[in-house]
């Protein structure tokens, strides 16, 4: 038994089909509980009023936007090193999800920023680097969709993902240097002192768990779709059809 047995598409599909219902259920449950608790049963912040509640969407989606790219980076590396097709397809499947998370984070941030900072958008380092991350997602998705040969596409996007990661980190620090921030520091961290108050903290954790489960479910589901699309393509090719 090792992790690599799931590189077999058949094994991957069988397992993911068994796991998926649980993931969907967990995601829906966590999001329902977390969001209801967060929106309806937590007090307003004494300065931010009820706008503070957008944290339950903003923080988890921002977290997943970055982690989706990390997951794509790992999957790309696995593809380049071990040539497992499932890995390349998982990276492809994760990209639109990550891009959507980035948009959610940017949009909820803008909606919160309008009453709080008095502006929809500021060229703050965090905001700017998220926008750049979104551009990286767009380029990655565009490259995938413009190459017909699946293996070539997987190779080229993996190389782009590796180089892009380095430049994304560079941009993060360059942007930090370029402009002073308006965005507050981290709301969550492993050492307790920086955390938000407990009333907000517990529902937030549940929301984050919900977003993680949702992300996993979406990626597994989309990877399954990609594998099936690849099979259909192979079948068509075998029958001598034009693809």
């Amino acid at each position: 038994m090792s992790l690599w047995q799931y590189a077999n598409p058949r094994k991957f599909l069988a397992t993911s089909e068994r796991v998926l219902p649980a993931l969907w259920a967990g995601a829906v449950l966590c999001l329902l509980v977390g969001l209801t608790w967060g929106f309806a049963f937590t007090p307003d912040d004494y300065r931010q009023g009820s706008t503070v509640k957008i944290i339950y969407l903003h923080v988890p989606s921002a977290l997943m936007a970055i982690n989706a790219w990390l997951m794509m980076l790992v999957a790309s590396l696995v593809w380049l090193v071990r040539r497992h097709h499932v890995s390349a397809l998982a990276a492809r499947a994760a990209a639109p999800v990550g891009a959507t998370m980035t948009v959610i984070a940017l949009a909820t941030g803008a909606i919160w920023g309008q009453p709080m900072w008095g502006t929809w958008w500021a060229w703050d380092p965090r905001l700017t680097s998220f926008l750049i991350l979104f551009l990286f997602y767009l380029g990655y998705i565009a490259l995938w969709s413009s190459i017909d040969q699946p293996d070539t596409a997987a190779d080229l996007t993996s190389v782009l993902c590796l180089v892009g990661s380095v430049f994304a980190i560079l941009s993060r620090y360059a942007v930090n240097f370029w402009n002073q921030g308006l965005h507050q520091g981290a709301s969550l961290s492993l050492d307790k002192e920086e955390n938000v108050a407990d009333v907000f903290y517990h529902p937030l954790l549940i929301c984050i768990a919900g977003f993680v489960l949702l992300f996993l479910a979406l990626v597994l589901y989309r990877t399954g779709t990609e594998i099936r699309a690849r099979r259909i393509r192979a079948l068509l090719l075998r029958q001598g059809a034009e693809v």
């Binding site: 070539t152 190389v159 560079l170 240097f177």
Partner: protein, 218 residues
Amino acid sequence: MRALLKRDLTLALRAGGGFGLGLAFFLIVTVMVPFAIGPQPELLARIAPGVLWIGALLACLLSLDRLLALDWEDGSLDLLATAPLPLETAMATKALAHWLTTGLPLTVAAPLLGVLLHLPAPGHLWLTLSLALGTPALSMIGTFGAALTVGLKRGGLLLSLLVLPLYVPTLIFGAELARRGAEGLATQTPMLMLAGLTLGTCALLPFASAAALRISLR
């Protein structure tokens, strides 16, 4: 390697379009800006470093799709890939030739265009320095982008989408160096960062470009 460099330079000089086009584009962008913004000297002087950097960046970008696409079409890329010269070296040489035909002329022309935009006198030196330090990185990153998209039908537009986000750090440090120089502020940090960026891309990106090109040629 020398032969490849010479060939690329000769092609760029004689085939027309490649060499002068980037410069002309740079000029026209710079001329268009006052029309859009207004002719007030103090306003133009403030935005001059940024405008010239954006102009240089776009001029670099414009010439990228010709960098490998022409060689791809006539098959000389396949020859390069099978030549005894490592593909990494070939990519570095290509990038060098691209820099010599776009980055270097832009760097030399920038002070002249700075005059058009009322860039203050000390700014010219810093602008030239920042472009001289930064444009090699632009060529290196651009070669990587060109290698990624060389086999594609609609490569041109995609190339911009891929390459521009990669240009962000170079643009930030380059324009910041030129701006600080023009305003007489401390320039050491952005200068060192820009130089580091250029050296880093020169050292590492040829490998990524060669890897991407090998995949494209397969």
